[in-house]
């Protein structure tokens, strides 16, 4: 190796970097993003997602990235409309028999798959058989195994009969993507090319999938739902949210989910971003709670649980963790929906009431100011998984409880260890975790006393006879008004018993480039993405797209 060689190396690197830098884009011209534009066909929408979809067959996949992409490709029999009521999807109508055990779905006429083959009730029956087949590796079979008999009297009718009436039945038919029999009948559903090359019936079909980088969907001209306005949906996989944000500010992506700091601090300070990016918020689909191990003292004492509920300042948590972008809740249902009991309100922050309840339970302050009963101090450990918001929540709670003399320690654990080492074994005091705000009100798996086995979801050990009865009743009642009454009653008992402290339901925050029009603001209960087939990008606002062929 000599000097000349080294120098030529460096020279080459130097020159090439100058060359690279010089092929850059020119300044962008000024466009009026706020003007009025007519609906326009075409254009590409680029969004960012943190994880790559695993498998586009939703019954096999478990990740949210997969269900987002698959939702654009497949249809179910029913769907939720923007106000979260049942609406036709593949089925144009449905009928429930008088004994409430049989549902018959009438499919729309002339349905077809993206490859042009007709879509009939045989496909629906095939999908049902697939998900209930013991060889199919799906975690979601149990709802469909309740169907005693399924039949197809004619190509447009699909009929299911349940053993006994099952109220969440209609909800289960909104989430089962109907799959094409003609392609899958000889395939092993667990391991098939179809999971990466799906043929569906919805607005979009798969165009190209660059592994680990991006998934491109294009408009399906045979869509059974009508034609979408935007021609291509491109999902770029960018794991780091700061990088996503840089891409958004550099105009390389149109849509991303943002965090409260970006929403409340970054955007208000950046005029340049406000000009081209619109922010949306909608109530998310989950809530965060503090849950007690009810099989362990002192949490088996309702007075202790209620006291802790009074001692935690939920507004402070919402302000501190979510910068105010969340709501305090008092039932496990989305505020504003039918199931939410409007007469309930969260436990207010009231430390003196908390102390009084604790005194009733036998806890008095010793000379150091810590609460003790029979010489033993009141102390416990909060465990949570590695989730920044939950960690911050735990810290705020720790401080408030310390003020009234309760010693709290916090432990943050990696997810798989968290579940196996602590949740499944019941070896914990208190958890900070989250549950989904489900659209169907059935909460049997979480709160019924029979669901306490290892790996089941009533891991807090909640057991209340009245609640058990209500949950059983609610599962059988198909009359929506009677059902509403049952679940409002259930929420009331749950709030009084205080097995968990409802902390907050956070808002889902999205940033969307203003070139995208047709988004409803304020967001309907079903969220802004609900009508994404109706979004459009007016021609003058499109990127100088080399993508356009």
């Amino acid at each position: 190796m000599n000097k000349k060689f080294l120098f030529s190396n460096f020279f080459a690197i130097f020159i090439s970097s100058i060359f690279l830098i010089s092929c850059s884009n020119d300044a962008t011209e000024v466009v009026d993003y706020d003007g009025e534009y007519k609906k326009d066909l075409g254009g590409n929408l680029i969004n960012a997602m943190a994880g790559e979809p695993s498998n586009l067959i939703a019954m096999i996949a478990g990740d949210s990235a997969s269900s987002v992409i698959a939702g654009n490709i497949f249809n179910s029999l029913l769907k939720y409309d923007e106000n979260l009521n049942y609406a036709p999807d593949l089925a144009e109508s449905w009928e429930i028999s008088n004994n409430q055990k049989t549902i018959s779905f009438k499919l729309r006429k002339g349905l077809q798959w993206a490859d042009g083959k007709p879509l009939t009730s045989a496909d629906v029956l095939f999908t049902w058989k697939l998900i209930t087949d013991p060889n199919t590796r799906t975690p979601y079979a149990s709802d469909y195994q309740l169907v005693k008999k399924a039949s197809t009297p004619d190509p447009l009718t699909f009929k299911v009969t349940y053993e006994s009436s099952y109220a969440p039945a209609l909800d289960t038919w909104t989430s089962l993507h109907i799959l094409p029999k003609h392609i899958l009948k000889d395939e092993d559903i667990n391991n098939t090319f179809f999971s990466r090359k799906p043929i569906g019936s919805n607005y979009y079909k798969l165009d190209e999938w660059l592994s680990g980088q991006q998934v491109t969907l294009k408009a399906n001209d045979k869509s059974v739902s009508g034609a979408p306005l935007i021609k291509k949906l491109i999902s770029r996989i960018i794991p780091d949210t700061s990088s996503q944000f840089l891409e958004l500010t550099a105009d390389n992506i149109d849509v991303m989910n943002i965090n409260p700091i970006q929403y409340q601090r970054v955007f208000p300070a950046r005029k340049d971003l406000q000009q081209k990016i619109a922010l949306y918020k909608e109530l998310g689909n989950g809530y965060t709670y503090l849950g007690f191990n009810l099989k362990k003292a002192p949490f088996d004492d309702i007075r202790v649980r209620q006291a802790l509920n009074y001692a935690i300042d939920k507004d402070e948590v919402i302000k501190g963790v979510l910068l105010g972008l969340g709501e305090a809740i008092s039932s496990p249902y989305k505020p504003g929906t039918r199931w939410n009991n409007p007469n309930l309100s969260p436990y207010p922050y009231n430390p003196s009431k908390a102390l009084k309840l604790l005194a009733d339970a036998g806890y008095i302050k010793d000379k150091n100011g810590s609460l003790t009963r029979d010489g033993k101090p009141l102390k416990f450990e909060i465990i949570t998984n590695q989730n920044k918001q939950r960690e911050m929540t735990a810290v705020l709670i720790q401080r408030r409880l310390q003020e009234i003399g309760i010693k709290v320690s916090i432990r943050v654990i990696e997810w798989a260890s968290f579940v196996n080492r602590f949740i499944k074994t019941g070896d914990f005091d208190v958890v900070v975790l989250g549950w989904g705000l489900s659209l169907d009100p059935d909460q049997y798996n979480i709160w019924h006393s029979s669901q306490q086995g290892p790996g089941q979801f009533n891991f807090l050990g909640y057991s209340n006879k009245t609640v058990d009865q209500l949950l059983e009743l609610g599962r059988k009642e198909l009359n929506i008004l009677k059902r509403e009454k049952i679940y409002r009653e259930f929420s009331k008992h749950l709030l009084e018993d205080s097995p968990i402290v409802y902390l907050y339901a956070g808002y889902g925050l999205s940033a969307v480039h203003k070139r995208v029009k047709g988004i409803k603001k304020p967001a309907p209960p079903a969220g802004i993405y609900h009508n994404n087939y109706d979004w459009f990008i007016p021609r003058p606002l499109r990127r100088n797209e080399i993508l356009e062929q």
């Binding site: 770029r236 990088s243 997810w415 260890s417």
Partner: protein, 339 residues
């Protein structure tokens, strides 16, 4: 020499068995398995279905039996399929009966990581040799001190922080370089040369960031080696013969000073297949680091074992190559004069 080589290669077999055994057991010591990821903590997913999955993947059997099953497959070079719902093969692509190809996970990620790391090593070594030589020749001057300061700042600076700053500066405020990813959207419509330039542009930042922290070690190594050599008798002889200083430094001294680097290059072969999780996440590069990290979080045992096995084979081969390379480059080693 030959018998030494054969002995070395035969020794690799018990080493590999030991490595795989230890990795397999450590992996199973961590609580949880593939059925306990966050997405499956969903009231709609039943415990029976998770149990079914455990049985299917033999996760309900004792660890030693699972290890036996794994060895049985691996001796036929079958790395198996991922436990994830995509069921991709761990190592290499597979074709189904109608001709659809599913690519292997390592097959997809390895070329990307390899490309970045090779470029990184090339840059690290070229720059380090220059910096190291320069600071040795100008020992204890401001040149030496500022080079040392520079490489240590590069070593100490948090990569992700610098990465974000550079992404902002080159990508958002000046739009010189793309921010993340490997290809621009519309990559497929570019000409071959255009695709090459597009890829290079995407690689400038990740490669520079990943090289920066490596500069300090190697350049100091070169500097110390160089100082050592420059004080040896044969250099004094060369000087007294009246050889030009440039010739002394770049031909006689440098050649000897960079000899130990062969060992370092050999030892960095296994590092070639490993990527940095943080860099890959920030730059949205689907490389080996992210693949391994995600597999560990998911408890995707076949993928973890696949990467570890390939990594340990490469480590053993790397040390072997380093020894051979050393013997080739240094006649004293070849003749058994030094150990």
């Amino acid at each position: 020499m030959i018998s030494y080589l054969i002995k070395r290669i035969l020794w690799m077999i018990p080493m590999l068995i030991g490595i795989s055994l230890i990795s397999f057991f450590i992996m199973h010591l961590a609580p949880g398995d593939v059925t306990s990821n966050e997405a499956s903590f969903n009231p709609k997913a039943s415990e029976e279905s998770r149990q079914k999955l455990r049985e299917l993947y033999n996760l309900d059997k004792p660890v030693i039996i699972q290890y036996g099953l794994w060895v049985k497959r691996i001796v036929q070079l079958d790395f198996g399929n991922s436990f994830a719902s995509h069921q991709k093969p761990v190592l290499w692509e597979r074709k189904d009966k109608s001709g659809n190809i599913t690519k292997g996970l390592i097959q997809e990620s390895l070329p990307i990581t390899l490309m970045i790391n090779l470029m990184g090593i090339f840059i690290i070594f070229s720059i380090s040799i220059v910096l190291g030589t320069l600071s040795a020749v100008r020992q204890n001057t401001w040149v030496d001190r500022s080079i040392t300061l520079f490489v240590f700042i590069g070593f100490a600076i948090p990569g992700f922080w610098l990465a974000l700053l550079l992404m902002y500066w080159t990508g958002v405020s000046h739009q010189w370089l793309p921010i993340s990813g490997l290809h621009s959207p519309g990559f497929q419509n570019l000409s071959g040369f255009g695709q090459f330039i597009d890829l290079l542009k995407h690689l400038v930042l990740p490669v520079s960031i990943s090289s920066l922290s490596g500069l300090a070690g190697i350049s100091l190594y070169v500097r110390n080696g160089m100082l050592d050599i420059l004080h040896q008798d044969f250099i004094i002889t060369a000087r007294s013969k009246g050889l030009k200083e440039n010739k002394i430094v770049f031909i006689h001294a440098l050649k000897n000073a960079i000899l130990p680097l062969i060992t370092i290059i050999g030892l960095s072969i296994p590092g070639l297949i490993g990527g940095s999780v943080i860099a890959e996440s920030i730059f949205a590069i689907p490389g080996m680091g992210k693949l391994f990290y995600d597999s560990v979080l998911m408890r995707d045992f076949p993928v973890i074992m696949g990467i570890l096995t390939i990594g340990s084979v490469l480590t053993l081969i790397g040390t072997l190559l380093a020894d051979i390379g050393y013997a080739w480059a240094d006649p004293r080693v070849r003749k058994g004069l030094v150990k």
